[in-house]
């Protein structure tokens, strides 16, 4: 492959266009391609609602404690949203993430209560349980070739059943609310707890993986055009396998962190994550790198939804208002992006039609 450069040199002289056209001396400057100000609508909305809530509640909302609360509360559901990015980028749905979170949390708690109080081992057990589900997903989706939406919906139900079976009907608190909770979830730096830093770390790793590595490029290629990816020599199934495994592991991590932060296991904890996770992942595609599932967009979306939800409760909104807010923001952000695109398309079509109409009318005389 390295020889590619020498081959290009051979080509220089005889190729028709390159000897006639003078060497392009000045290329347009390398733009910051990743970040475009047009694609940061969520940031503007975030700024607007911060100002709005600050005016409505200057004493309670406009405080460091609010920022801490947003980060601490939404880092874990944000982590589930990040988990979805790899499968979604390769064109797969993973609906099992919420159940995987439940299973990993319950498995870790069960291990703490019944086997050993070692927090590191408990985390490992939780992650292994999550990865096993990832493998099952891979068998269903990649080997049996069942549509990912249906396949992971099915595994999701089964996994939740297993989690409930392990946890029994009681919540497990033995050894969970002690040193495990202290070490895994409650240590903090300036009021910002561990899960926030873990979420940030996962975000950075996923950002590099998606944006900078061959793996990420291949994932997007598969998601956009599986046929082109396949003809380009990409082994579609192995890339998707990695996506499903990483998704399960990250979702499992979120479940373990949630168990730790509330100090008890409950198989139902995961289910609350499902919709917000998809919401931030899809909202993220309208931000930063439009049309692609991307990490910065997802992080911005987590902050936007978190701030909105916390703010609404602080100013005394009813307890159903955050759900309304999430829905409205999702439709607004996606709608604005696609509506803008459609309007531009219509305009272009109208212009080209007018051009064509004029020219044909001019060149072909019509005889009645």
């Amino acid at each position: 492959m390295r020889k590619a450069l020498s081959r290009e040199k051979n080509l220089t002289t005889p190729l028709p266009k390159s000897d006639g056209v003078p060497e392009r001396s000045s290329w347009p400057p390398r733009r910051r391609r990743e970040i475009s100000f047009k694609r940061l609508t969520a940031v503007y909305i975030l700024i607007v609602i911060i100002i709005l809530f600050s005016l409505l509640s200057p004493h309670y909302f406009f405080a460091i404690a609010t920022a801490q609360q947003v980060l601490n509360q939404y880092s874990i559901s944000g982590l589930v949203g990040l988990a979805l990015l790899l499968p979604l980028a390769t064109g797969l749905f993973d609906l099992s993430v919420a159940s995987v979170a439940s299973l990993a949390g319950t498995a870790a708690a069960w291990f703490l209560a019944n086997v050993s109080a070692n927090p590191v081992l408990a985390v490992v057990v939780g992650l292994v349980a999550a990865l096993l589900v990832g493998l099952v997903n891979a068998v269903v989706v990649l080997v049996m070739e069942i549509d990912s939406f249906i396949g992971t919906l099915a595994t999701s139900g089964m996994v939740l059943a297993i989690a409930t079976a392990i946890g029994g009907n009681t919540t497990i608190t033995t050894n969970v609310n002690g040193s495990f909770q202290e070490n895994v979830a409650l240590r903090n730096l300036g009021g910002v707890t561990e899960p926030v830093f873990i979420c940030l770390g996962v975000a950075v790793v996923l950002y590099v993986a998606l944006q900078r590595t061959i793996f990420g490029r291949r994932s997007y290629a598969i998601g956009f055009d599986t046929e082109a990816a396949r003809l380009g020599g990409i082994h579609v199934k192995s890339v998707r396998l990695v996506g499903l495994l990483v998704s399960a592991a990250v979702a499992g991590l979120a479940g373990i962190l949630e168990t730790a932060s509330i100090g008890a296991s409950d198989p139902s904890i995961g289910s609350a994550f499902l919709l917000p996770a998809f919401a931030v992942a899809f909202l993220g595609t309208t931000q930063v790198r439009s049309g692609r599932f991307n990490v910065p967009g997802t992080v911005i979306s987590i902050l936007l939804l978190g701030t909105g939800n916390v703010g609404l409760l602080i100013i005394g909104g009813p307890n159903w208002s955050p759900d309304v807010f999430d829905g409205v923001i999702l439709i607004a952000a996606v709608g604005l992006t696609s509506a803008g695109r459609i309007r531009v398309l219509r305009l272009k079509r109208a212009l080209s039609k007018r051009d064509r109409g004029n020219s044909t009318a001019g060149s072909v005389p019509r005889v009645p």
């Binding site: 492959m1 390295r2 020889k3 590619a4 081959r7 290009e8 051979n10 080509l11 220089t12 005889p14 190729l15 028709p16 266009k17 390159s18 056209v21 060497e23 392009r24 290329w27 347009p28 390398r30 733009r31 391609r33 590099v208 900078r212 590595t213 061959i214 793996f215 490029r217 291949r218 997007y220 290629a221 956009f224 055009d225 046929e227 082109a228 990816a229 396949r230 003809l231 380009g232 020599g233 990409i234 082994h235 049309g291 692609r292 064509r356 020219s359 044909t360 060149s363 072909v364 019509r366 005889v367």
Partner: protein, 527 residues
Amino acid sequence: MPVGDRTVDVAGVLVADHISMSFNNLEVLHDVSLCFNPGAIHSLVGHNGSGKSTLIRILAGFHSPASGSVRIGGHLLPPGSTGAAAASGLRFVHQDLNLIPQFTALENFGIGAEYSRTRRRTIDWLEQRRRLLDALALLDETEIDLECPVSELRAVERTLVAIARAIASRIDGTVTKFLVLDEPTTALEEPETKHLFEVIRSLSRQGVGVLYVSHHLDEVLELSDEVSVLRDGYLIDTLPRSALNHAALVQRILGDEPGSVAGPAADGGRVARGTPEQALNGSSPAASALTISNLVSRRLRGVSFSIRPGECVCVAGLSGSGREELVYAITGAIPSVVDSVEVQGEAANALDPESSIAKRIALIPGNRQPGSIIDRFTIEENISLPGMSAIAGSAGLIKRGQETANCRTWIERLDIRPARPWQTCKELSGGNKQKVILAKWLSIEPTIMLIDEPMAGVDIGVVETIRSVLRQLADEGMAIMITTSELPEVMPIADRILVLRRGRLVREFDRATGWTESDITRAMMIT
């Protein structure tokens, strides 16, 4: 002009009267007047781009003609109305049949027409079934399983279901007067074609006018009462059955002077070519870059060939001849079976897309083919896709400076516009997309290139660029195979031309011994 200056409206006759049509200022139909009689089989023949499909689309009401009109039995059809065409008794069976594969024959039967209803306004399936069985009985076909998804039927059964639907569908209470069949035999084997012909003849005996469109001249000769020939948008001639023979048709399809279109001498001036000695420089003439024996896929029935380094081989064939599948079958991109493969003189296992790239074989679907280019990727992302490991460091991190530099080299080399590596490919013109596709595959440094439709959707200036790039690569020792439906565009750079017909290689033309376009076209069309 068969119809004369004034077309005559006899009862029941379908008349296309002085039809002209242009797309983007390019005239594709030029004052075409035709007259189709009820109960007659009238065939329409001509090259790709002769205007056949446009004429049919105008009859069907998909397009409104720039000038001229369509009349049936003296009644003017409102232009551009599919509903009006159907309501006057015109029925169409398009090449792809327009059946929904997961639906049964019975379910497909109602689509696009009126259903029989019960008193409760639900669909009367019993009545539907009776009507479909009647229609099939009319076609001498009683064995089709109506409850089976049509995807599981045989090809000829699907065609018959589509025809039954066309003739028996009630649209605004009218019955079928004219049936238009567009390349109905593409998917059929020899005996099935015979069966279909029996059906067509029996329909015409019952007074249905049949308009038959086909590339296959032997079929047309066997079936037709009349044949109209279109060339470059002009109606050349309409021949009655008594005047029909191969020679007359071929001569009209190709033009008045067969042999003058292209030949070795005529090509010489168009593209600067290396001499044969240069082309084979550094490799013995006998060595082969790629040898394939007995390749079988859905449409290919045992194809064997060999390409030498420095050679540009062009494969021609009508649609349905297997030409569309050849390069994909070679590289295992579609299901295929092969007896043996030799790459650069070494025996190899059957190829797949991954191992092809490792062996420096580039499979290049042309612009507009599925999988050719990722529209939502930028130019640089598309170019680096197949050879990504070359620009990646440890841990698979892409060296983006190098990626952009490579991309800029290709942008300059092939004059890709706009010259922005981060331009999304969706907005590029066809020609520039094609250049990106070429750059993408040249970047893996291939020794063998298999290209499908390199000239599709590309404007004339870019055609020239692509031709000279390909010719030059061949002269430098690359082995190139091009499959194309636009033979004249590729002929000037071909060293050999292979002709596929019905899944088999039937003729081989060599530049050294000379060829003419009409010879090749004849080989494509006639047994």
